[in-house]
């Protein structure tokens, strides 16, 4: 892949959240290292999946890329511009081109706003369309794009089901005609029979507008379906990244192997026949991550070097990156 294909470059991104103590005199006593030195590219028009367990830093990564959190260190280069260096109006101008879809369709829509106001907000904020008439036309068109009837315009969020609300969230994200959308667990709050509807819609919109998605999820089956490439995160770092078939059929990192083998398969014979790697214990706290490889306390093939040295991010096959001493 040459540079023309790259839309977003993330370099050495770190985001630490301070832990403070004291009421009158607040002092910083530590940091939650939510994201700790990650680097990757997102190509134009692709869907990059970011998977991992809760607390591994997936959401923080997405938000830091969009500058909703300012990174502690590192760079996010968006189409040639370093987002970490711009602010104010120039950042706002760039923000038009990047949007976000949130996990909880109940919490992410203002219950006191009508649908037309919710979807129209990006148009007003970015002054994209002047005039009520033009805005209303655009909002109607957006509703049609997400397969909702335009007569819903003056309704309120509580009148919609979860799946419909998520469509409204998608319509709002599309309002400013973005090219890049961070989808933060867009389907995990939805019922099984509704998930496929929203996933198909997102795929159609991608084809239609050439969108680039960063798809953050913990449902590994859906990620395999929708993503072109997948990055596996553990405790603030990316441990493996490659094309979806490489990651799913030939995972190299012991954490990826364990994670994939833990996903239930809706087929009783297949799921009972396969070999599972059951990990011991829980994910350690990101405020005090283990030394060396962060996965070493739970790793089934841990060695001496793993406890001491941080494994290097290596390309073991074209486009297949792993951070593990044992691979």
């Amino acid at each position: 892949m040459n540079d023309e294909h790259v839309l977003v470059t993330v370099q050495g991104l770190k985001k630490y959240f301070p832990i403070t103590k004291g009421i009158l005199i607040r002092r910083v006593v530590g940091a939650v290292k939510a994201v700790d030195d990650i680097s990757f590219n997102i190509h134009r028009g692709e869907t990059l999946g970011l998977v991992g367990e809760s607390g591994c830093g997936k959401t923080t990564t997405g938000r830091t890329i969009l500058q909703l959190y300012r990174p502690t260190a590192g760079h996010v280069i968006y189409d040639g511009t370093d987002l970490t260096q711009v602010k104010g109006q120039s950042l706002r101008n760039l923000r038009k081109r990047m949007q976000m879809i949130f996990q909880d369709p109940y919490a992410s829509l203002n219950p006191r706003w009508s649908i037309s106001r919710i979807i129209g907000e990006p148009l007003r904020v970015h002054k994209i369309l002047e005039g009520k008439k033009a805005q209303e036309e655009r909002i109607k068109h957006l509703l049609e794009l997400v397969q909702l009837d335009p007569y819903h315009l003056n309704r309120y969020p509580h009148e919609f089901s979860g799946g419909q609300r998520q469509r409204i969230g998608v319509a709002r994200a599309l309002a400013s005609a973005p090219e890049f959308i961070v989808c933060d667990e867009p389907i995990s709050a939805l019922d099984v029979s509704i998930q496929a509807q929203v996933v198909n819609l997102m795929e159609d919109l991608q084809d239609q507008f050439g969108l680039t998605y960063l798809f953050i999820a913990h449902d590994l089956s859906m990620v395999r379906h929708i993503c072109n490439r997948v990055a596996v995160m553990y405790l603030g770092v990316i441990v493996e990244m490659s094309d979806r078939d490489e990651v799913y059929d030939h995972p190299q990192h012991p954490y990826s192997k364990a994670l994939l083998s833990a996903v239930p398969i809706p087929d009783p014979r297949a799921t009972r026949a396969r070999q599972r790697v059951i990990l011991e214990g829980d994910v350690p706290s990101p405020s005090n991550p283990p030394a060396g490889c962060r996965f070493h306390p739970r790793c089934p093939i841990v060695g001496e070097e793993c406890r001491v040295d941080i494994p290097k991010w290596r390309e073991i096959a074209p486009g297949h990156f792993v951070a593990c001493h044992k691979v």
């Binding site: 367990e53 809760s54 019922d191 029979s193 994670l259 809706p266 009783p268 599972r276 059951i278 829980d282």
Partner: protein, 328 residues
Amino acid sequence: MDPVLEVKNLKVQFNTLEGIVHAVNGVNFTVEEGKTLGIVGESGCGKSVTVLSLMRLIPEPPGRIVDGEVIFKGENLFKINKSSIQNIRGAEIAMVFQDPMTSLNPVLTIGYQISEALMVHKRISKQEAIRRTWKLLEMVGIPLVKESFHDYPHQFSGGMRQRVMIAMALSCDPSILIADEPTTALDVTIQAQIVELTKKIQSQLGMSIIWITHDLGIVAEIADKVIVMYAGYIVEEADVFTIYENPVHPYTLALLKSLPRVDSKRYERLAIIHGSPPDCLHLPQGCPFVLRCGFAVKRCSEENPQLKNIESEHKAACWIDVRTGKTR
């Protein structure tokens, strides 16, 4: 073999300001000794209400058990008095809930909470209860049991809390363990731990399990028999292999088709089920699935099909034979 639990024609309704919610509409099933029954369905399909009403745990009012019998060890649980049901609840039939944080008392140590159940139900001394609690904690894989005994729920992670819940449920040697979405709030690697643990304990103690979930993957792994619920009705029932390999209800069929698989390279478009589940306040006339069904004919919107035997031990409620497209 006689079933441990038999549910006959269970009907549960809730009175709300908007009208009567028909949460469970005539459900029949049995639980065999030492076997696992999986109940699957989407939110609002009545799966939780079904098991809560077995133990008379739904709030009455607004809830009301309109009809039905629950036969447990020869007794109808809907006919016995309050104190006898308390002896069964927690002792003979125990339950593990979805959210281990809200179902544990945050101001009591976990040791106290487990030993309390033992002292109430088994009438044993405090020392004996503490000893048994250590054993239970060890069985569910809590490290350093003697120290953990004095810890509070917030000191545990989600997976560990669910282990504590399981220990508490097992404390009185129940014949039936009801698990209501016990792994939904957990990560997949922790979910795998809990599933393995439950299977191991079941093989040691031989209790029956009712496992409620919306995740067809988990059911494939753990259940012997599966019930698929939709809008308060059982729409299909069969052993686990038949449900997945030979589903005959259009809803089961569509659900299985809409799921991507982690082990499969087939990337065609996902099959979708149009619309959303019906509101149990206003169920459509006829079959509850009729508006979303790809096979529906005229009769489906007029008459609600009963759950009938398709083959031995395989039941479905549908007018259509999905394999031929003809009416049954």
